[in-house]
Symmetry: C2
Subunit: 633 residues, 2 copies
């Protein structure tokens, strides 16, 4: 059997595999989630992909039209790898459930040979006792590992649990054993000894968002993506944003413990679900790389976050050490290493560091604006020479909160929306192709943009009640625009957008835009200097750049400079899970990034107020939008 | 105030102290336990010491005779330091209770400035937040420590518990705090953060003997000895020697856990007693250095010791990593580092490594025989060029077991014994000057020697029933020699030595002598090549060299080459507690020592059988003894 390289676009995820495997199978390993309702039987036709380079084997099936076949379309579950391939996965074929939040980002999923993952399972042949003068089993194990790991560790120690196992497993297995080896800040530790029984070696990449927790299950041997799971952060019950969570810890005697448990329980629920779904034992998960903003990081550790809200806004810890799962309370192998991404400051956390790592902004020669839209909006401007960052309280409107039919980017969320004035029709696409249930971030951006262009919405964000459409109406004294009639999707109520929600969205986009403007101004730069704008976050699968500029969320630059990069926080966590180089670069990035405190810049509030218009009060900042809307500055 | 150096002999313990302090106080700090029944009031006269160099201040008191004053004798509780001093502490003035087992050995108790103790409490002034651009409290703490410890650690991390404390203690104490810093194999870890409230910084040096556990409480700041405690190892209930303990773990489902708990409980009982006695919180004990033979080491860790008894007799672990107190179950600060002395092989353990370190045999140019008499007798021959070691099953006879009135070297044990044939009187000295309760190892050696010289005992170890003394008698058909009449010490029975006990002692001494003989022979050496013989173990305060040679326990060399060095295992543990250099040298020694397996040498058994005579079957090996006993070889 020969092996081939397969690259999946648009993510660039790349794997090397044996020939003969199906593209569906390989895509899964590469972390490219392809939809397949029939379980790979060639029946549902959902897994259409386009082969743009190389030839596949296998059968064509009857689910493809002549044109599709002509374009190079194949069914991923039927086509096999017989060649080096580049495969384009259309939006429609990407797996539905929560996929936005699980975007693979820029992660190179194939583990490089020389890398040191956070933990790995290594099959070892330890020399039998008595061959080197009588020193112990543990010392021979370390010697084997030292050879095996080629001096990658400063030292290698055998933990107490592993010492206990070794005494039983070593002789019973005739010294052919498996060692679980963790990287604790450059020092190796054997934290488990097991018989070679085909157990897996998995890691979890965990993104602890203020609102949503996302967990990716990764095969640490190949670096391949196995599965993902997301859940609302249980902490939401104690407040929607980080400030209200800090206040909770201060006003409740057990508040800190409560929030710590909530974070831990949320992560563990996801981990259990993944383990059950994949039929693995949670003890086969031997490493966890976690990222979160600074408050989430403190809360997961049970470290009082009070300092974050107290002048001079310096966190209690920026770079936590590599801990053990049992210390953190994670429900994986109890001795497994847990890496936490280092934070830059109180309001620029490990999720941003991870994101900058994942998109490579710190190594690029191009001047980049990296924007991560979560419940807070954090942004970084810079290149390989320098990096400046700031945070602004965007609020969770683009995560769907505070907007009546807003929702998280999960199945049934409208992620692309457009309105045709001529036909009075709303076209939309939902995640997973399910019946529309609400609107996620990217859908909300589209909605505002399309209604603004159509004239159904004015620049102040008010519904135009004179607009000739039966979709415009007043309900409970509040003007709204109906996007989906309830009867079309089998529900009693209609999915609409109202003025309250629109105002929340405008406040949110203005906070972000004003942040970028203030930061650029502080650096003596103009938006036009930005060579690329990378937008990360839980918007949906695709954020429409034109819509984002049209509503004034992003600066008015050439649209080809804007790229939506998905959940870069979890992408960075995956890199940290798989390589020490990534972990070290993350630490370097956290130290390199200079924090710019918006709250101390008086002009920030002015900029924010000026931004409470669509796209902005000052149209000179948005010439292309003024042109499209036929406005004059 | 000026400071002076005070050296206490015969141990050579040395401290630098301010002038004006009493010698009793200073001796305590130096680890030289001086007796004082009246609590330093100058009343009891027990603390007589001789000043051989320098002059003391303070009052003479009325407890000293003119001659004593003329010789330079002073009361340690009254004399004050005003000069550099050398002070000789007579046997009679050394503190009684369990002192033999707590002998300070060769330990230099003053901590050298540049050393890295296993753990220390460090007062730190951490820069307030906001001075370095917003990185966390923990990062500033590490920076302060890095400066403070002058690069002594490869890296410094802040553990989770310390991270949690720092968030509260740092701001509350205005960043003047105390950090508990442990040395985990060259990597520093902050495992506690506390307010500066005058808490102590103690360590325990723990010698886990098969029969007896000894714990020294040490001040890690000064290296000074604080107190000591000893206890019978609770494991004795599960067998007297290491082999029976291993068998116990194999024959009982919970045997390993049971023995692990027994070891742990014994140590913890001693630790609690010390803490109560000294009025300290066990959390003020921030480090533990443990030594034990290989089986004790495995059992303390809960690692199955089966491999030790199974060919090729290779232990499961030789050099355990530095663990945490909570992992081992020690009742001190739960995150405190616990160092375990590295073992050479299955029957030459960490107690021997520690002993060789303490006596400096591995750095000496003189060819040394180091003999550690515990329940097993281990010995090392060598110098700074090479070290060879072996172990022989001596059994616990010299620890008092298997001998009717034998006892551990505790208060009331007869530690020196001599019989005068002319007067038919037995002279003896007891530990602590208490009423005689039984006979410890050194007393047993003396007893055999003195009775042999007197002719009350023949060379086969039989009581001479024709010997003209009312002390010789037959009780329950067993011949015995009465050492102390019960009425003299207020007890119903008489303290005697009988033939069964004598046979056990002869077997034990022969096992040791045969070991030394076989090892010397294997090395092509003669006993006369030995430049020094250092004897360690729980014999008593002083082992009489002449007696030891007379009964054939030690080879017949010039008596000035023989030195009794006390409990070197605990002395080595104290060195490990106080310096990384000692810990590293210990590791080097364990690797350097070559194990010589006596059981595979057929001549060992012949040598053993030949040694079952007093002093030996072959009198050519003991010319000085033959001369003394007027025998011809």
């Amino acid at each position: 059997m020969s092996s081939h390289i397969v690259v999946f676009m648009p993510d660039g995820a790349c794997v090397e595999v044996e020939s003969g495997r199906t593209l569906l199978d390989v895509a899964n390993e590469a972390g490219m989630a392809i939809d397949s309702a029939c379980g790979g039987q060639g029946v549902c036709g959902k897994c259409k992909v386009m082969v743009t380079l190389g030839r596949t084997g296998g059968q064509a099936g009857d689910k493809l039209s002549k044109e599709e076949l002509g374009e190079g379309m194949v069914l991923a579950c039927q086509a096999t790898v017989e060649d080096d391939l580049v495969v384009e996965v259309p939006v429609e074929s990407q797996r539905g459930e929560l996929q936005i939040l699980m975007d693979q980002g820029q992660v190179e999923t194939a583990v490089r040979e020389a890398e040191t993952p956070l933990a790995s399972r290594r099959a070892l042949r330890v020399g039998p006792p008595g061959q080197d003068g009588g020193r112990g089993d543990a010392e021979r194990l370390v010697e084997s590992l030292r050879v095996e790991t080629e001096g990658r560790f400063g030292g290698i120690e055998v933990g107490l649990g592993a010492l206990r196992s070794l005494a039983a497993v070593g002789p019973a297995e005739n010294w052919e054993i498996e060692a679980l080896v963790g990287d604790f800040g450059g020092q190796g530790e054997v934290f488990g000894i097991e018989a070679c029984e085909g157990r897996g070696s998995y890691g979890v990449a965990v993104d602890i968002g203020t609102t949503t927790v996302v967990v990716h299950l990764i095969d640490t041997a190949t670096g391949g993506f196995v599965d993902a799971c997301a859940s609302l952060n249980d902490q939401v019950a104690q407040g929607e944003d980080v400030i209200s969570r800090i206040i909770w810890t201060q006003e409740h005697p057990d508040g800190l413990a409560q929030l710590r448990e909530a974070a831990r329980d949320t992560v563990n629920r996801c981990v259990r679900e993944l383990a059950e779904r994949r039929g693995i034992d949670v003890r086969e998960i031997v490493a966890a790389a976690c990222v979160g903003n600074t408050v989430m990081t403190h809360l997961l550790l049970g470290v009082d976050p009070a300092a974050i809200r107290r002048e001079p806004y310096v966190p209690s810890v920026s770079s936590p050490p590599t801990l053990r799962a049992r210390e953190v309370g994670l429900g994986i192998h109890p001795e497994a290493p847990v890496h936490l991404a280092p934070c830059v400051g109180s309001y620029v956390g490990g999720d941003v560091t991870a994101g900058v790592l994942a998109v490579g902004a710190g190594e690029s020669s191009r001047l980049t604006l990296f924007l991560d839209m979560g419940t807070n909006g954090e942004m970084v401007i810079g290149n390989r020479e320098w990096l400046m960052c700031c945070s602004c309280s965007a609020g969770p409107a683009f995560e769907g909160s505070g907007v009546e039919y807003g929702m998280y980017a999960t199945v049934g969320a409208m992620e692309r929306v457009s309105y045709d004035r001529e036909t009075d029709q709303v076209e939309y696409m939902t995640i997973g192709g399910a019946k529309a249930r609400g609107i996620c971030g990217s859908g909300l951006v589209d909605t505002l943009a399309t209604l603004l262009r159509a004239g159904a919405l004015d620049r102040a964000g008010r519904i135009n009640l004179d607009f000739r459409s039966e979709r415009v109406r007043v309900r409970d004294e509040r003007p709204e625009f109906v996007l989906v009639w309830g009867e079309e999707v089998g529900r009693a109520d209609d999915i609409s957008i109202g003025e309250d929600g629109i105002q929340n969205l405008i406040r949110s986009k203005s906070a972000v835009y004003a942040g970028a403007e203030t930061l650029l101004h502080g650096l003596g730069l103009e938006a036009s200097d930005l060579e690329q704008i990378l937008v990360a976050g839980a918007f949906g699968n695709y954020l429409d750049a034109e819509s984002a500029v049209l509503i004034g969320l992003l600066p008015d630059v050439a649209l080809d400079r804007i790229r939506f990069v998905g959940n870069t926080a979890v992408a960075g966590a995956r890199l940290a899970l798989l390589g020490r180089d990534a972990r070290q670069r993350m630490e370097g990035l956290a130290r390199r990034m200079t924090n710019f405190e918006l709250s101390v810049v008086p002009s920030y509030m002015d900029a924010y107020v000026s931004g409470l218009f669509l796209p902005h009060t000052d149209l000179r900042l948005f010439p292309s939008v003024a042109e499209k809307l036929e406005l004059t500055a």
